[in-house]
Amino acid sequence: MRQFEAEILGNRRVAESWRELSFAWESGAAAPEPGQFFTFKASASSDPLLRRPLAFSGFAEADGGAAASGARAAKASAIYQVRGQATSLLADMAIGSRIDIIGSLGRPFPKPLEGDVPVITGGGIGLGPVLFLDAELRARGLEPILVLGLRSSSLLPSIKLPEGAVLCTDDGSAGFRGTTVDWISRNASEAAGGKPLRLYACGPGPMLAALADLAAERSWPGWFSAEQWMACGVGACMGCALPRADGKGYLRACADGPVFDARDIAWGAER
């Protein structure tokens, strides 16, 4: 992990209250992996005070050799929802301005096992990290099943989605009418041609809780990315605790996660 002042390369609206941020990645810093996150400081003032975590939604390696003129720096991106003071300030940051970044943080999604079909599920703003994972697995020649859930088609972001992505909307305004978990429960096994499934997910607590139940019922292995309030982001403050499934205390979203084995966390137990 590194702390650096990054140049903002893009900060555009992609849906009602959703935006996509991209910034120059520090040369020499390890490339972020899907599931990892960074923290940013939204303002030099003390209000808002704390750094905010955002999951990476993509990463592009530096383009062109070091000697080539016009070589582009590596670029990291994140999709975020404008829902408070810090994200409002972030939304106002102009291209070319600088932002205080600490990254990459946390454990990424583990790589799929040979022969497994990855089923990648993103709910709401959780779509960012799953798009990153989907892109990386496709780049490695895998063919994941990508299932995205939104409340309504009006929230569909103006981002190029991979061909074949399954869209689920609660109101049926686009794609499958119902939740991602409904779709997976009914269709995933068939879509995978009977091969063993491995779930990857990021999304709201109730979605993860329902998906964890389904995974347990069908004996599907799963890796889920959690969200929790955090202060330090590096494992020191113990603020971002998540209750363990076995009742034996807590795990830290920032340092033990944010990606966990679906069986390890009492999903939905956190308020």
Binding site: S46, W229, C232, V234, A236, C237, A255
Partner: protein, 312 residues
Amino acid sequence: MANPVGLASGTIGYGTEYEDLVGVDAAGALYTKAVTVEPRAGNRVPRIVETPSGMLNSIGLANPGIEAFIRDKLPELRTRRCAVIVNVAGGSEEEYARVVELIEAEAGAEAGAEPRLPGAPEAGAGGTGVDGYEINVSCPNVHSGGLAFGTDPTQVERLTRALRGLTRRPIIVKLTPNVTDITAIARAAEAGGADAVSCINTLVGMTIDIARCRPHLAMGTGGLSGPAVLPVGVASCYKASRAVKIPVIGLGGIMSADDALQYLLAGARAIQVGTGTFVDPRCASRVLSGIEAWMEKNGVARIEDIAGMLRP
């Protein structure tokens, strides 16, 4: 201590968590996360919430317990080139005493009895790993109806005296601001044999989510820290430093050298950076270089001379 800037308990873990980002060894002292006799899982979640220019936390002293601390954390702490102060917490006098006894038995009674300086021969791999104790007296005493030790001068004096009998290492009593008169508690710590007091611990606070009609924190209330508490901390140091002869270590909301200098002018002999590290891991080093620049500009040679510069 080589310099007056410490890293406050609960904000720096055991030193390794921030290793990639900052040179922890450059600090004057590292105050560990509180250590208790038994492992503690910590409080229900959510445990933290942001407030105007501050944050509330109710972590619940989550820590692996003294046995695991000695086994898993102390070896790493022994390699530190900064002073290492173990923050001690407990629900009874016996629990505090047990933590100190076990560390004394492990770290040795003699070595480390004097605070180490960086570069000194005993520093580094040969260090004892413990240069002193900071006593968190904000914990509820299970034998006194859960009232915090730190709110009662009699209890603070008795607890400090009991621990004094167990170690030659420096004892720093960390004062809570949640009292009517912090000077009475500071005097009690001094009477019990403390080498210093640190102030302030967090202020009790609460915020409520009006959409759900319930507190943001699972435990209801938590401890307020950050810039919002700075004036409370400065006033506490000002009062405490005039009530006792032992040194006062100031903390509470320090984000910059200017903030730290307020504490030093108010009477503190050293300071700690806590929440500031969360916001910017480089905070402590910025504070240190800013203090040094201010001292040079004002022709001040020693940290302890700053307190005398405060005009009425």
